[in-house]
Subunit: 326 residues, 4 copies
């Protein structure tokens, strides 16, 4: 069995493709652009436009935006403000004119597992207005949009597919747009709690830290779905796999003269990689995750950026300070 | 405006009736029996059988069972075991033969407010099996029933009526029975965190610490609903109201000879009661609750009794120890 | 036994005095001044200057400052900023020149009881620098003062008097100033989570939600102690007592003509008050507290004001944004 | 720089020694014995008796006991009970006759970081009696020993060396024995949350997830210190290092015939190992930890075993059920 690094980021899926292909050419059906703000926030926009792009990168047709915050951004209010603004701007672009009805914000993930609690944490901080607009319409700012927010839990806790619960709620609430927030897996520790991905394709099975089988997208729900994800972990198996690739890569670089050795390195690696990973990560190599020690506070900080960003992207022109519980 | 003590307990509704009626006679359409176990657990069963009973007591036709644990029961494992068993027995009786399909356990209330978090806490501890039975039927004990569990949140957090979310989930899951757990209001501090009420009538609007408008019952969901409630607070206004009743009651007892005084006491109390309560509980007399200091651990303990009791009432004959995360 | 409303606020102790004394004259040894800021924050400064003042008001000689925030202040960033500033200004005045050594911040109270967790929450948010100044002095802003912070727990959890633990820590750390934060009891719901008291007298036995016996003050620790307190609860017994006072007060106002009745009202009230309170608050009238439903978030908000205020009062002239984990 | 796998377990330190030494002979000054209980709990006792043993294994002279629970032990009450008993028996042996005065239980670690919160969690569950014995000696079971318990926090939060705070508390409380609980680092995922180490040597600098500089032992505190540790994480760098060792080991096994290749494998690995690890774990290879996804509940479970075990080891012959808040 061949080991494959696991990632939920389109950015990394594209990287993986280029790593494994000989030459870095453009892929037909994939457009990409990059930008960097004053505060050092890198914005990459990948647009997959055709079946060919979809198959090459392994992500469905749609728009993928990635924001990478500078390292240690968590300690400065200035970066927090800039990150909220950059995120809100990208979200606004993806929302376009889909916010004329109710928006349903979904906090996916398990609130009892720190690294998976991003979605529920965002839901707890999002400004919810649907009930105010319904029950006391004359008392609130007319520019506020109708927003509701649900954390549906995870299969292991509820016994029900997340997608089923979401579908049930959508059938009652009939939103015009769904925004789903979820914790993701990255390939690289340097992206953890530091990178925000937006996509207008919804969330497809197998993504996230937990296992979700039913897609949450336009096809299953009947409304557009914007997915917002932050990698909060790297699979321990991915770290082990990367380690092998690098040590073997280094050996190969040193073994260029010695053809027998070079060939052996290639063969051995292919054969042994998965076995070694399973041995190092006994007893359960699929269940171990790598996080920074301070994962608890890091997830809190990025949840706040996303919640603030969602609030300001949706309720444009409203001074939200007076609604903010700080 | 006349002040009325707020209660969600059928037991107390009946008490209130007898307090305000002159003679303690039987009410037509209301049957009541009491029992006490070895461990000092008092079990009262009130059955409302007719429209007359319904109107007299102010609770819909159905069965209401109340378990009162001995004070300070929280410190003894022995009482915990006895309470689980007594509770499971009463629950089994109410479930009857309605557990041949999937059972949906609902954790009502706001998990971010300690005194309202009972329902979500129970859901976190209930043994959920529906997904196991669906995805790996051959690997699990055939006697396990199918159980799923959802904490739908509260209107102020989600922006959606709890009843709407529950209806949406029911439409997808199609349970044969719903068991809904909620934190209640009592009239008496001595019942707080100490009393468990079961009812096969579902939950009617206005109950609980928060405000729920849409009923969760057979009529709205199309399946039988067993409601389990524990009073975790007394309204501060109820305490104030009770205080007035008692002080005035004492004065009346002392003023029997003096007719003018007696009449004055009756008039003044009626007029002033509500005004005094509002004055004492400025600025928001509907928003203040009375709890024991250690409400956090008390709610945890009673949630554990309910979760253990639900598990053993549903999965009869299965040794649940091997599924228990302690 | 005569019932006495319980309060930890000097402001209320003074009110209680004037309520029980016939005419509102000045008390010798007590100076008081009031101020109101633009944002509607009321600042009262009570200075007790003599033994006579001490005995009259029942609080030791020293400075007591009370900030009262406008109701619902929690929803506006603007008020939060103003409250931080007003609080920091008063704190600076009390600190004076006592911040030339290490400052020890104490988070008193039980972090597992929501209404008592104020102190530990503040400690979690205070900027701690002592170890940085000690281990990497050249890497940090020279204007930062040395701050350390400890949450010593409560007697029921640790088995050790809080004062003993604090004394032990002081003996090792040798601070030049102690700032102790604690949750208090008020007489009035309208002050709960809304009022911040500062005092340069330390904390005296019996204060707070829990029971602390050993004083934490200059006398016991050998360093000046500034106490910061916020009422987070009212004793349920106080609410009941106030209710009786008011209903009886109303009756008296209506009974002025009828001397016999008037006299009876006075007598009955004195006799019965405590008995009624104990009856209403069975089984444990000293253990019940009144809080707003949303006590959890309210305590969080006021803890943030205090932590931000302490940080800016201590580290004057430093831009703390770059240290802030938001 | 040579990379060295990090471990806090004496068991693993001994393994590491045997891995790096050519033949598995006995080490002078190190005695070891193993045992397995009915329930599959493995108990290893390592006794380091001389300077030579100390230097060979890298742990100070003393007794080290390790309990390894069977995998997935967390799901069975039966295993929980057996683990409590086995742990209590070993603890009793180490305590010997040192429990004739007050015992101080220390919960080391940071309660805000899930994987480091083991100590504070245990402290929250330990039965504390010192204050009862002091303030109401006639009301409690005379067989109860005097126990107090403190969670001193960590340097990064308090600004004070943990050892300093502990020393200060000891100077006031004057215990006859200290029991310190801390979260540890292991080399192997299979030991995480599954292994309990007891040692009568105290805790030496550098141990644990955080960094502690001042030792907590007989020398610094003046009383015997029993340390109880559970590995809750593996350093990500250790995982990466182990991966390299294994892949290179596999290659060596296949390259036995080819001496040049074999020699190269040995050289390359030594040179590159640390560089590869730093590259894979950018940007901060010392800050990343590997945990099971469900680390939150796993730490909770093992904390309960330790707390129950401590309680029953200390208060021998007392029925603790009546004190147990379950």
């Amino acid at each position: 069995m061949k080991f494959k690094a696991r990632t939920d980021l389109a950015l990394e899926a594209r990287e993986l493709y280029f790593e494994s292909s000989a030459i870095e050419t453009d892929v037909d059906g994939v457009e990409a652009e990059e930008e960097e703000t004053d505060c050092g926030i890198k914005i990459s926009r990948v647009r997959i436009t055709s079946k060919n792009g979809e198959e090459t990168i392994g992500k469905p047709v749609g728009n993928y935006v990635t924001l990478e915050l500078p390292q240690n951004a968590d300690f400065e209010q200035r970066i927090h403000t800039a990150a909220c603004k950059a995120f809100a701007d990208e979200l606004k672009r993806l929302i376009g004119d889909k916010n004329d009805g109710t928006i349903l914000v979904l906090g996916l993930g398990n609130r009892n597992i720190t690294a998976d609690a991003l979605g529920p944490k965002v839901v707890d901080m999002v400004l919810v207005t649907r009930h105010l607009i319904e029950y006391m319409p004359e008392e609130i700012d007319q520019r506020l949009k109708s927003v509701c927010a649900v954390s549906p839990g995870v299969l292991g806790i509820t016994g029900v597919e997340t997608g089923e619960i979401v579908k049930g709620v959508c059938d009652r609430v009939k939103p015009s747009l769904v925004i789903a927030i979820d914790a993701l897996c990255s390939r690289r520790m340097e992206r953890v709690n530091n990178t925000i991905q937006l996509a207008d394709t919804g969330i497809v099975p197998g993504a996230g830290i937990g296992n979700r089988r039913m897609a949450i997208n336009n096809e299953t729900l009947g409304v557009p779905v914007i997915a917002i994800g932050v990698p909060t972990v790297v699979d321990a198996a991915t770290i082990a796999g990367d380690t092998i690739d690098r040590i073997v890569g280094n050996m190969k670089a040193n073994a260029k003269e010695n053809k027998a050795l070079f060939r052996m390195l290639e063969t051995i690696a292919e054969d042994d990689k998965y076995g070694v990973i399973k041995e190092v990560l006994k007893p359960d190599c699929d269940n171990f995750i790598v996080t920074p020690k301070e994962v608890d506070s890091a997830v809190e900080l990025v949840a706040k950026i996303i919640a603030d960003g969602i609030n300001s992207a949706i309720h444009q022109g409203v001074d939200l300070d007076e609604f903010k519980g700080l």
